[in-house]
Structures are given as structure tokens and as C-alpha cells.
Amino acid sequence: MTVRPNDRASRLPDGFADLEPLVPDWAVATKAGRLKKRIDSTAEERQRFYDTTLPRMRDIIALVDQGSLEGMSVEVARLMQLALMMVEISMTIELQNPVSEIKHAEAARLVHVYSELDSL
């Protein structure tokens, strides 16, 4: 087994090393955090994340579903967080455009998340 250069905190399950550079910025555990990341990021950053992650989405879901949603390892949880972030970011690319996303961000800063979904 090769030793990976990545920090343990960025480690993903085997087979997903290509996504590890995304972990520090984009693997966020809460919906409120994912929304904040969305409105604090640039259009270029979001497009890069989207383009890198999209081809791996089905692989991510298949990998996570090898175990249970409850009690997943931190590595699997990070991978799932990337997939959930992808949903939030897809809004800015598949629904909004660069102009409407600026308006969305203005209004979204006034939205408060009161409680999170209990399951990851």
C-alpha cells in the first residue's frame, strides 16, 4: 500500500483519492455550513468543484451504500458530505446563473437555519 501525502483529515475511502484535495474546503457537515460555503465561494470555485465531483457522484452513492447511513466511518462521512455539498452547488449551476446567483446570495444571507436534519 502506498502512503498518501494527504493529511489524515482529508482522507477519503480507497478509490476516491482524486477528490481528497476538495475535502478541506467542501466537505461540510451541516446544511447551514454548506449554504454558507455556497454563498461565500466564487463562481469559478463552484464550477471547478462541480466539474470534478459530477463524474464521481454515482460511485460515491454506491460506496456509501455499502454500509449503513448510521455509524459510517469519518472517511465515508466526508465523501457523503461532498455529495451533499454537490447538491447545494448544483443549484448555482443547474438552476441559477452567475447573475441570479448574486441575487440569491443576497437574499440567502437573510435565511436562518433553525434545525438540521438529524441524519447526515
Binding site: 459530477l54 452513492i61 447511513l69 447545494e88 446563473n97 443576497e106 437573510l110 438540521e116
Partner: protein, 407 residues
């Protein structure tokens, strides 16, 4: 092409067609009457039983309209009870958390402690009081009733109607909602500088979809077969009302949207709910049925489809300001794909409502500047017209019993 909304001839006649005075959306005197004759008197849907599932669980719901804060707690005996969140000592709010699990509520100010059944259990340095009667100084009860998994409270110390009477024919429908175990919830909200009825109206008409939501729901909720996204049906039950939304089966999903639809059994599937007690009609059997939207008088909307439900509260702070709270409920996700699909439902709902928020600040001034005296409702805004009628009926009601209103 267009869809012609199903609505009974009797309802069309009752609703009328004329303009509606805009005063009901800004006059502070009108608002005071709404607060006193509606919000302080009728049953208010505030939560679901799954929010307080186990003994010791509690939630705190604020009805800012009446400056009320209500604790809803499940006792050790399994019973749900509601209390004003006010200490008998110096009237401080007893519970400052919004939800949790506890054996007692202890006031942070001087340590008065109350049991889950509202009884005052302990008073620090009690002997120094002047014969304080603990038995008479429990938390003040608030009337609570449930229908299916929905919790209603009534701030009237002696409600004039039972919940079943207030809901009328809707009682059986709400009770039959096949969502009993949908306990996963996500909640978000904000403050809108707009009258509560206008905020609610935004959620009870699809006329604005093609414009306000030109980037999000437009192709899901309108299409060549229904250019302006007419609702499939409107029904009215006393002061309450229900619409069914039309979904565009020809909608082409974008890549992540497609994944969410595939894994969640979500988009493009008819929303016909198995087990729901409902009227049988062409609209309710339509493959284009995408969701049901129940507007419960005065200030709650429940939107339900096979894979999600939202409960939206429109809580007036004053005549011109509304605190809106959306709570989305889901069945517990059994797979990563299902969880991803739920994330998509949450994300798109938030985007759509954020778009609504961009129009909200530009309405109240328009109504209050004196340029116009009336608003003009479209046929697809029949539910907005009904809310205006019902609020007028309740607000002007002074001598007759409330049970006659809206029947």
C-alpha cells in the same frame, strides 16, 4: 394549452370576483383585530407529534403575534401538554432553549423548577416566601389537541370550539396523511417586511411561478400543456383551503437533479398519496398531480407529496412584518441516494423561497403609499381571495359565535 382548475360552481359564486381592499394588509387597527379575534382565539397548527416523540421531549414555539411562548412537552405518562413559558415568580421565560429533553424546567433567574406536567416542584429558599401556594403556581396551561401527527394549540384559555369542529371535513384528511413516521426534519426561516397574509398568499398561488421563479420551478410547474401553471384543483373547507399543484412531466432534469429524482423516486412521479382520505376527481387522479397544499386557517400551510412534507408558519410580528418558518419532514433515509434526494428537496425549496424573499420587500410600501385602494385577484389566486374573505369574516365577527363563520 392550459389546465382548467377544478373548482365547484358554489365556491366560485361564494368567492366573488371583485377587487379586495388593500387595507386588510396594512391597517394597524385591522391587525389588532386579527391578533385579538383570530390569533388569540383559534387553533394554531404549530408542530408534529414526532417533534416531541418520547417522554421528556419538549419544544418551545413562539407566537410572537401575541408575545406568547409555548412549551409543548411529553410527560413521563406519555401525554402531550402545552404551557405558557412564563415563570410564576417574576414572569421570566422559564425555558430558553427551543427543543430538548429534560426532567424539569428550571428558571434561570431564581431557580423555580417545574415538572413536565407543569407542576411547580421546587422553590429555592421557599420558607422566606409569604405562604406561596405551590399547587396554584404551576405553569399556566395552554389548550392542546392533535389531529393525526399534527399538534395544535389555542391561546384562548377557554377555546370556543374543539379542534375537530374547527377543522371540519379537513379533520379526517389530516388524520389520514400517510406520514406517521416522517420524523426527520430540517427547519429554516426569516423575517419578511410584508403583511403575513401577503406572505402566505405567495404560497397559495402558482401565478407567480413563471416570473418570480423563472430560474427554478418554472419548467417543473409550467409547460406547453399548462403555460401559466394553473393549479389542478381548489377546494374550500370553512376557513381552510386546499389546492393541488400541477407538475410538468416533460421537464428535462439537469444532471444532479436527475440523480436526486432517480434515487429519491422524486420528480416526475405522481404525488397521489396512498391512504389519504380525499375527494375523488379527475384532478386528484391526474398523473400531473405534483403536491397537495393545505392552507390551515389562519397561518399555516402544509405541502405534502410522497417523499416530503413542509409545514410553513406565517407568524405576524406586526401589520407589516412576518416571521416565516419552514419545517420540512422526511421519512428516515434508508440509503445514500435517498438522503441525497432529500438534500435536493431541501436545497430547491430554499432557493425557491429565497427568490420569493426578493419580491417581499417591494410590496408593503406599494400598498401603503396611497396610490391604490384595492388588489385584484386572478382566478388562479382564488385561495388568496378566500383567505381575505375569511379573515374579514373572523375579524368583523363580534356578536355571532365563531362556529358560524365560513360555513
Amino acid at each position: 394549452m392550459t389546465v382548467v382548475t377544478e373548482i365547484s360552481a358554489a365556491d366560485v359564486e361564494k368567492l366573488g370576483t371583485g377587487p379586495i381592499p388593500n387595507k386588510i394588509y396594512w391597517d394597524p387597527n385591522w391587525f389588532s383585530a386579527e391578533r385579538d379575534r383570530v390569533f388569540r382565539r383559534v387553533w394554531l397548527c404549530v408542530a408534529r407529534t414526532v417533534d416531541v416523540a418520547s417522554p421528556g421531549n419538549y419544544i418551545v414555539k413562539d407566537i410572537e403575534t401575541c408575545r406568547a411562548s409555548v412549551i409543548i412537552a411529553r410527560g413521563r405518562d406519555g401525554q402531550l401538554r402545552a404551557f405558557h413559558n412564563v415563570c410564576s415568580h417574576r414572569n421570566m421565560r422559564v425555558c430558553l432553549d427551543k427543543k430538548g429533553s429534560t426532567a424539569r424546567f428550571t428558571c434561570r433567574y431564581h431557580g423555580f423548577s417545574y415538572d413536565l406536567d407543569g407542576q411547580l416542584r421546587s422553590v429555592p429558599d421557599e420558607e422566606y416566601f409569604f405562604g406561596l401556594d405551590k399547587g396554584a403556581n404551576g405553569l399556566t396551561p395552554v389548550a392542546l389537541e392533535t389531529c393525526g401527527t399534527f399538534i395544535f394549540i389555542n391561546l384562548d384559555p377557554k377555546p370556543k370550539q374543539q379542534l375537530k369542529e374547527f377543522l371540519g371535513e379537513l379533520y379526517d384528511r389530516l388524520e389520514s396523511f400517510p406520514i406517521g413516521d416522517w420524523a426527520s426534519s430540517f427547519s429554516f426561516g426569516g423575517e419578511a417586511p410584508l403583511n403575513w397574509k401577503c406572505v402566505m398568499d405567495n404560497f397559495q398561488e402558482s401565478y407567480h411561478f413563471a416570473f418570480t421563479h423563472a430560474r427554478t420551478v418554472v419548467d417543473r410547474a409550467t409547460g406547453s400543456a399548462n403555460v401559466f401553471g394553473h393549479s389542478l384543483s381548489f377546494e374550500f373547507f370553512g376557513p381552510h383551503r386546499v389546492l393541488t399543484n400541477w407538475g410538468n412531466l416533460d421537464h428535462k432534469c439537469a444532471p444532479v437533479e436527475q440523480l436526486a429524482a432517480e434515487y429519491g423516486g422524486g420528480f416526475g412521479q405522481s404525488a397521489i398519496l396512498v391512504g389519504l382520505k380525499d375527494s375523488d376527481s379527475a384532478a386528484k387522479r391526474s398523473p400531473n398531480l405534483s403536491s397537495y397544499a393545505y392552507s390551515l386557517f389562519p397561518n399555516v400551510q402544509i405541502v405534502v407529496a410522497p417523499s416530503y412534507m413542509h409545514l410553513i408558519q406565517f407568524i405576524p410580528l406586526d401589520a407589516e412584518t412576518t416571521h416565516w418558518v419552514v419545517t420540512m419532514y422526511f421519512p428516515k433515509a434508508k440509503s445514500a441516494g435517498e438522503r441525497l434526494s432529500q438534500e435536493y428537496t431541501m436545497a430547491i425549496a430554499k432557493d425557491v423561497i429565497t427568490e420569493d424573499m426578493s419580491v417581499f420587500p417591494h410590496i408593503q410600501d406599494g400598498m401603503m403609499c396611497g396610490a391604490k385602494e384595492f388588489v385584484n385577484f386572478h382566478r388562479n389566486e382564488s385561495l388568496c381571495r378566500h383567505l381575505a374573505m375569511m379573515i374579514q369574516a373572523y375579524t368583523e365577527e363580534t356578536t355571532r359565535g365563531q362556529t358560524e363563520v365560513g360555513r
